[in-house]
């Protein structure tokens, strides 16, 4: 098992300080030159949380109270710590690291200088010319982004982390400037025990209490721990000590918990030179899509959407997601959907890698043949594949909420009587099948073939916000004879009504509410022939002053 995985661990010890300096670039108040430290309030004192190389050389360490630090280094520059920014930066770097492998996890607290990234490179090292080349590439690129990093490759995540964290030279303040091989190490498969033997216990990610307790009995190195009887060790120092040791030596598996699910269907491509022209990106995308769709077709599956990640040379990762209403294994359709997102994409200095993944796949068998929308009072029109693809294109550019069907639902109130529904029924929903899974129980299983009588009296336009009106009615509860709106009068020549509509009883818990929310609708026609749907709320029967609104327009 230990030989099956190869894990790369990256330790970013100075992420907080680097983030602070990065933020200061281009800001009017530049950081003054001099030793820099980050501070935070802790139990009524201000203490240092991170120090840069100059401050460390002067003898400052994290955890020192600010007052003492100022006594040692009077010209110390301080900024308050921002753990949220550091965590976000670490997450962004982890996203970027997906250019090496889809399985990337983060570890440690970046603000405390413990932040790092774990990458499973077992299947992808050969794409970069071997583990050593991949390691060099990663550390060099991080260095160019301004991040000092130590990295190691080993057979287990814990071993890789231990070597990166406490390997040779980790305590040297100037290790970054020292020989490059100090910051990168490769532990051959199966030799984890030998590599770890000389390393201090801190590399095992034990609690500080356990490290101190072991230190009191003279055990300071991992090798010394490995020779001890396990049962006694677990009894005296806790189960965690044995667990961590086993994980480091590969006797017990430790999964990297990925930031994102690793898709079963994915394709990636790394370019020798960054590409920036949209034609090049499109051409590369075509090749990726062809690969992905070939894999999908072989498995008889279709993607319900794809994620495209474009890795910029300056360490940013652009992610475009498109969704489809049905499983798709046609590269051309996915390419058209993704093209909507690639328009106006900022390539910066170019992209040097692209990754394509299908996070959700479904069986294509459900789509073969023509699907039918379980529908209202209309012949079941088959939903053709072109229509599904049209819906995809519209929904991906305008948003899924912008494309829908608006179907009737059983309610007396006109504004509640229409409900938004997805543009296409879920695949597999046969016409006439009982919609047991339908979330809304008020939606009937099959629409009535004949229309409800009331629909003939419904307007073609229903105002989202009814407009207040002044109305003159000769007798209370009679239709109005004159309407005034925005300073104009409408003489009403014909009227029909009232049609009294109340909310469903369960929507108005108290009897008084129901009366107050009851509406009287009138269809009226003015002297010019325009026909309106006006509504009276309140009135004589309700025992409160009547208010009139314009709610709809008839054809």
């Amino acid at each position: 098992m230990a030989s099956a995985t190869r894990c790369l661990a990256v330790w970013l010890p100075a992420l907080a300080i680097e983030g602070c300096r990065r933020d200061a670039v281009g800001v009017s108040q530049a950081l003054p030159a001099g030793p820099l430290a980050l501070t935070e309030g802790l139990r009524g004192r201000i203490v240092l949380t991170a120090v840069d190389a100059m401050a460390a050389a002067a003898g400052l360490t994290p955890g020192l109270p600010l007052a003492e630090a100022r006594a040692i280094v009077p010209d110390l520059v301080t900024r308050s710590a921002r753990p949220d920014r550091d965590a976000a930066r670490l997450a962004a770097l982890a996203d970027w690291c997906e250019r090496y492998s889809p399985l990337v996890g983060v570890t440690g607290a970046p603000a405390a200088g413990e932040g790092g990234v774990l990458i499973d490179i077992a299947g992808s090292a050969h794409l970069f010319g071997g583990e050593a080349a991949l390691l060099d590439d990663l550390v060099d690129r991080l260095g160019r982004f301004g991040h000092a990093a130590r990295a190691a490759v080993a057979g287990t995540p814990a071993a890789a982390w231990a070597v990166a964290r406490v390997g040779p030279g980790h305590a040297t303040p100037g290790w970054r400037a020292a020989a490059a091989d100090i910051a990168r190490a490769i532990v051959p498969a199966g030799s984890e025990a030998a590599a770890l033997a000389a390393l201090p216990l801190e590399g095992l990610r034990l609690g500080s209490a356990a490290v101190a307790a072991l230190g009191r009995v003279g055990i300071r190195r991992i090798g010394e721990l490995a020779g001890l009887p396990r049962a006694a060790l677990a009894r005296r120092y806790g189960e965690a000590v044995v667990t961590r040791l086993d994980q480091a030596l590969g006797r017990r598996g430790e999964p990297i918990s990925p930031r994102r699910p690793v898709p079963r269907f994915a394709a990636r491509m790394v370019f020798a030179e960054p590409i920036g022209r949209s034609e090049d990106v499109a051409a590369a995308l075509d090749r990726l899509l062809a690969r992905l769709c070939r894999d999908l077709a072989e498995a008889g599956l279709g993607a319900r959407g794809v994620d495209l990640t474009l890795f910029r040379v300056d360490g940013l990762a652009h992610r475009c997601q498109v969704g489809t209403v049905r499983p798709v294994d046609r590269a051309g359709h996915l390419a058209r959907l993704l093209a909507l997102h690639l328009d106006g994409l900022d390539a910066g200095f170019g992209f040097d890698a692209m990754a394509l993944a299908a996070p959700a796949v479904e069986s294509m068998a459900a789509v073969q043949g023509e699907l039918v929308v379980a529908d209202a009072c209309a012949p079941a029109r088959p939903v053709s594949t072109p229509l599904a693809e049209l819906v995809d294109r519209l929904a991906n550019r305008l948003g899924t909420a912008a494309v829908r069907r608006r179907l009737p639902r059983q309610s007396h109130l006109p504004d509640r009587a229409v409900a938004d529904r997805p543009a296409l029924a879920a695949p597999g929903a046969a016409p006439g099948a009982s919609p047991g899974a339908a979330p809304d129980a008020s939606l009937p299983a099959a629409w009535p073939v004949s229309w409800p009588d009331g629909w003939a009296e419904r307007p073609v336009r229903l105002l989202a916000r009814p407009q207040p009106l002044d109305a003159v009615a000769p007798v209370p509860d009679d239709p109005p004879v004159l309407l005034r709106r925005e300073g104009h009068s409408h003489r009403i020549l014909r009227a029909a009504g009232p049609e009294r509509l109340s909310p469903e009883w369960w929507l108005a818990p108290e009897r008084g509410d129901l009366a107050a929310r009851t509406r009287d609708y009138y269809r009226v026609e003015d002297a010019a022939g325009r026909r309106f749907w006006v509504v009276r709320v309140g009135g004589h029967a309700m025992g409160r002053p009547a208010r009139w609104y314009l709610h709809g327009l008839f054809a």
Binding site: P382, P408, S450, P459, R461, L462, S489
Partner: protein
Amino acid sequence: MLEALRAKLGALGRPGGGAGRVVPLGLGPVDAGLPGGGLAACGVHEIADAALADAALADAALAGVPHADIGHAGAMAALPDDGLRLGEDGAATGFAAWAAGRLLAASGAGGAVWIAAEDDLYPPGLVRFGLAPADLLHVRTPRLRDRLWALEECLRSGAVAVAVAELEAIDLTAGRRLQLAAEAGGAAAILLHRAAGRRRATVLSASPALTRWRVAAVPADPAVTAVGKRVGREAGREVGREADGAVWRLDLVRCRDGRPGRWWVDWGALRPAGVAWATVVAPLHRAERGGRMAAPADTQCAAGYAAGERGEQAA
């Protein structure tokens, strides 16, 4: 002979397979006035709310002033100050729904799409005009650019029989683009120009639309339309005119290969099964100005659209 030549010319002018297909509106005299007896199934049609148009311009069009002259008469015209600016009526929406329903019913497959900036279309009200809620895909997007893009996507997709788009005025280039897209995809586009919310109306500029219509609601005055009561009797029972029966004044302002015209469409009362009976009064140019119609050459036709016929069968 002449017809054959005309068909040949039409086929030459338009690429696309079934470009010459027409779909009758189901309103007898109106269809008779249209080239080929109906609306072209592949092409752009424009429907404007009459409140948008200055009455004088519409009259000029009917009097035979060439279309181009109207288009350039001025970009803006003040609305008559009789309250029209209060907004629209639903007549243009109703006619657009009717035309879309006919075009949809005539196509074997394909759907109907309604592209709008707002959500005030009310599907239950459209059923009367032959458009079932389940057949209609709603696309809502506030920006004109997105609406034009969505319309073109729909037309080109080949999956849509008719797309209705609520648009502000568009320029000639955009209109021609839409016409090409409609021919390429074998679909019909209906551009619906609404008057709501505008203080001044935009006179429609020149456009390559095959037909342009102006629809206004008019009072159901028996002296003008003379068909008020008859509908009820035909239906087998006496139905008094209430606010149910809409009457539209339908102006065909421009028609490629055809002549402008004016009709009155009286929807009368509804029959129980939901079949709409439209009575169409043939064009009489001087009728309205004279205020009296001597002998209305009216034709009554059962506008039995697909959904309505089903309703009858069920009953």
